[in-house]
């Protein structure tokens, strides 16, 4: 009497016969894998990839430039800087003031006005140059204690114009009937009403733009270091697993000792030694994750090389190289793809961690880790500085991890039983 074989669910036998797409769709019915898990995370990942590829299209401002007032809360309308001139002077905008000599412009000390007027003057000069002229708008900023004092200076003819915040001007301008407000001097970003949906930081940079450009840095670090450790870990794992013996033991010893080291600390040590640059950050993170690939690939190679079809290939005269390339390697790839996706998430997190600690990236890089570190200084009065970069890191890591786990479940449902 033979014993009845253990019952195998129908889906297990069907699993081998269908393609990837149907597998994803049927996975839920068969073994309750959440295919929407993969769907949602793929959409998220795809969105982030698009952001990383063409941040310029989505970002309203230049992430490195000061484009607005400092520490503006999300959604808050920026205070426009307005130009005030004597009534009837015929001046309608800053460009009308161009002349041979330096123009004296009055501002109030300690307000963003002086910077705004200098920037505006620079823009005017640039525009003139672009039109082919050789004129320049040269400005001398005259500082006053109060707005009222500045306006009196203008009335007295000490200055040619005054620049100040439009709301304050609206309050005090009634006392100076001879003067008129002719319009804003701010950059196009603020004036065109593009605004700052996520606010600005303490340098007057747009948080949203930095977030969007930061995607590129995060992805560059994540993908480049994951690829680099893949490029090192995959061949090492293949060789160790396939050759076996002493080679395997020595390599595994080295990899295990790397693996035993806490990841972030190792990365810190490597960047500290290599010095700050984006490439060094990538290398440091790659070194940390090489053992992950090595272990997976080695294990797979160990099991694949015992398969009958490898023996069959040898019986047909295949060389070791052929077997590695055509038999072991393609059979190892699916699990490597899954590891890769989870690994990108890890690498992004480690990258953010490194720049949060001030290691690695040049300080003006639009990077989430740097933004988080800077935002920390203003955590009391500007919640938006750390909230949004934090959410960005979290959702990217979550998306990648979800995608990896979801794919793993679909590719290899048998793991669930363990």
């Amino acid at each position: 009497m033979t014993e009845a074989p253990p019952e195998v669910p129908v889906w297990r036998t069907d699993l081998e016969r269908i393609g990837l797409v149907r597998r994803i769709l049927r996975a839920r019915r068969w073994y309750r894998a959440d295919w929407w898990f993969v769907a949602i995370s793929s959409v998220l990942v795809a969105g982030f990839v698009v952001l990383a590829l063409v941040p310029g299209v989505f970002a309203p401002h230049d992430p490195r430039e000061q484009v607005g007032p400092r520490l503006l809360a999300p959604g808050e309308a920026p205070e426009l800087e307005a130009l005030v001139v004597p009534a009837g002077s015929g001046v309608n905008e800053l460009a009308d003031l161009v002349s041979e000599e330096r123009i004296k412009v009055g501002v109030v000390q300690g307000t963003p006005s002086s910077e705004a007027v200098r920037d505006a003057a620079a823009r005017v000069t640039e525009r003139l140059r672009a039109d082919g002229g050789d004129e320049r708008l040269r400005i001398r900023v005259v500082r006053h204690e109060t707005l009222d004092e500045a306006l009196r200076g203008l009335e007295a003819g000490e200055t040619v114009a005054v620049v100040g915040s439009s709301s304050e001007l609206a309050r005090v301008l009634d006392d100076h009937p001879g003067l008129v407000m002719v319009g804003p001097v701010d950059g196009e970003g603020a004036v065109a009403g593009r605004g700052f949906p996520l606010g600005t930081n303490q340098l007057g940079q747009d948080v949203l733009s930095r977030l969007i450009w930061g995607t590129r840095v995060a992805f560059l670090i994540g993908f480049a270091s994951a690829l680099l450790s893949l490029a090192a870990g995959l061949p090492l794992g293949l060789i160790a697993g396939y050759v076996g013996g002493k080679t395997d033991r020595v390599m595994s010893l080295v990899m295990d000792s790397l693996y035993a080291f806490p990841g972030l600390i190792l990365a810190i040590a490597i960047t500290a030694v290599l010095g700050p640059s984006i490439f060094n950050v990538i290398v440091a993170i790659a070194v940390v994750y090489v053992p992950t690939y090595y272990r997976i690939v080695r294990g797979q190679a160990l099991s694949v090389k015992e398969e009958l079809y490898v023996e069959a290939a040898r019986s047909l005269g295949a060389t070791n190289r052929d077997i590695l390339r055509r038999y072991v390697y393609p059979n190892v790839i699916p699990s490597v793809a899954i590891i890769f996706s989870v690994n990108v998430a890890d690498a992004i997190l480690t990258g953010a961690g490194l720049s949060f600690l001030g290691l690695g990236l040049p300080p003006d890089t639009p990077d989430w880790g740097i933004d988080l570190a800077r935002g920390q200084e203003n955590i009391q009065n500007a919640w938006w500085l750390i909230t949004f970069p934090g959410l960005a890191v979290m959702s990217v890591v979550l998306a990648f991890t979800m995608m990896g786990e979801g794919l793993m479940e679909i590719f290899n449902p048998k793991l669930r039983d363990r």
Binding site: E16, R17, G245, E307, L308, Y309, E311, A312, A313, R314, S315, L316, G317, A318, T319, D322, R326, Y327, P330, N331
Partner: protein, 329 residues
């Protein structure tokens, strides 16, 4: 008597295990003749698969060939470099494995298996020419040429086994070692496959070593049969002679244990005991602890593997001169 194509002399194979060396094949001598189908039978673990692999020098650590000569086409394969050996594998000697379900690379199309095998051995053949050869070959084996672009999982077990054969034939191998090729096939597919083997033998002038534990299969297709027990050959001869008049008590027991239509309700013969551990095999004839006709000498001396009548060989003291026989007489 036809020409010998492959000659095994004193072959011993050992596997290193934690508890010591296991001698899976122990001093086997065997001549394989051109154009024959030689059935190699024996129970599980008797060393028949190891013998098949050793014939292609495919024993991998922890196993190793301890001693022996493997004469094929005028050269001793044991003396060849690994590189020359690779040219022989697949090129001159092909192998078909037990489980067709797992003996093809799941991530490679059928056609790639064939063209790569051809081009590994004949690098000058173009991809297109190799494909043409593959198409011709599989059509001969009864697989439509469109199926070449399928992956192994899209083929049935019988088809895969035919693909395995075509791989062995792709380079006109003269000798094919088939290691339990029909074990995982159902009876009808098995019968068709065996017919095919015989046809191919005639058409391609093949020599086939058929390793199996199925005595019925051997009786059906083989010309000669070799019976193996515990790493040694017990009996060898023409299939009709061996099965018609088995000499070795092991072969006799084996044949009686096969159910047949004439049994008619009688109890099926059961051989006593179980195969010995190869870690610590019994001295003398390895079958003596289970042998119904064991004599004192059987546990002391190993019988020679010699002729009992013509080309019918057996390793048994019953048919050989020894002191006890002399004393009886």
């Amino acid at each position: 008597m036809s020409e010998v194509i492959y000659s095994i002399r004193g072959l011993s194979v050992e596997y290193a295990t934690r508890s010591g060396a296991v001698r899976a094949v122990d001093g086997v001598d065997l001549d394989i003749r051109r154009g024959e189908i030689l059935g190699l039978v024996g129970e599980s673990g008797c060393g028949k698969s190891t013998l098949g692999k050793a014939m292609m020098r495919m024993i991998t650590p922890p196993g190793r060939i301890v001693t022996g000569e493997l004469w094929f086409e005028g050269q001793d394969l044991m003396q060849l470099s690994e590189r020359k050996m690779r040219a022989i594998r697949g090129g001159r000697i092909g192998m078909v494995f037990q489980d067709p379900m797992t003996s093809l690379n799941p991530v490679q199309r059928i056609v790639d298996h064939l063209t790569e095998t051809i081009r590994t051995h004949e690098p000058s053949v173009t991809e297109a020419a190799a494909r043409a050869r593959a198409e011709e070959l599989v059509e001969r084996l009864g697989i439509r040429r469109e199926r070449l672009d399928d992956y192994p999982h899209q083929l049935s077990g019988g088809m895969r086994q035919r693909v395995m054969i075509s791989l062995a034939l792709a380079l006109r191998a003269g000798l094919v070692i088939a290691d339990e090729p029909t074990t995982s096939l159902d009876v009808i597919v098995e019968a068709k496959f065996l017919d095919l083997l015989r046809e191919l033998r005639d058409e391609f002038d093949l020599t086939i070593v058929l390793i199996t534990h199925n005595i019925g299969v051997v009786a059906e297709v083989a010309d000669r049969v070799a019976v193996m027990y515990a790493g040694r050959l017990a009996e060898l001869g023409d299939v009709l002679e061996v099965f018609g008049e088995p000499r070795h008590p092991y072969t006799q027991g084996l044949l009686q244990a096969v159910p047949n239509i004439e049994l008619d309700g009688a109890e099926l013969y059961q051989m006593q005991g179980s195969p010995p551990s190869l870690l610590d095999p019994p001295p003398g004839c390895r079958f003596h602890p289970r042998c119904p006709e064991a004599m004192p000498i059987c546990s002391a001396e190993t019988p020679a593997f010699q002729s009992v009548s013509g080309e019918h060989l057996a390793a048994c003291w019953l048919y050989q001169e020894h002191p006890e026989v002399v004393a009886d007489a």
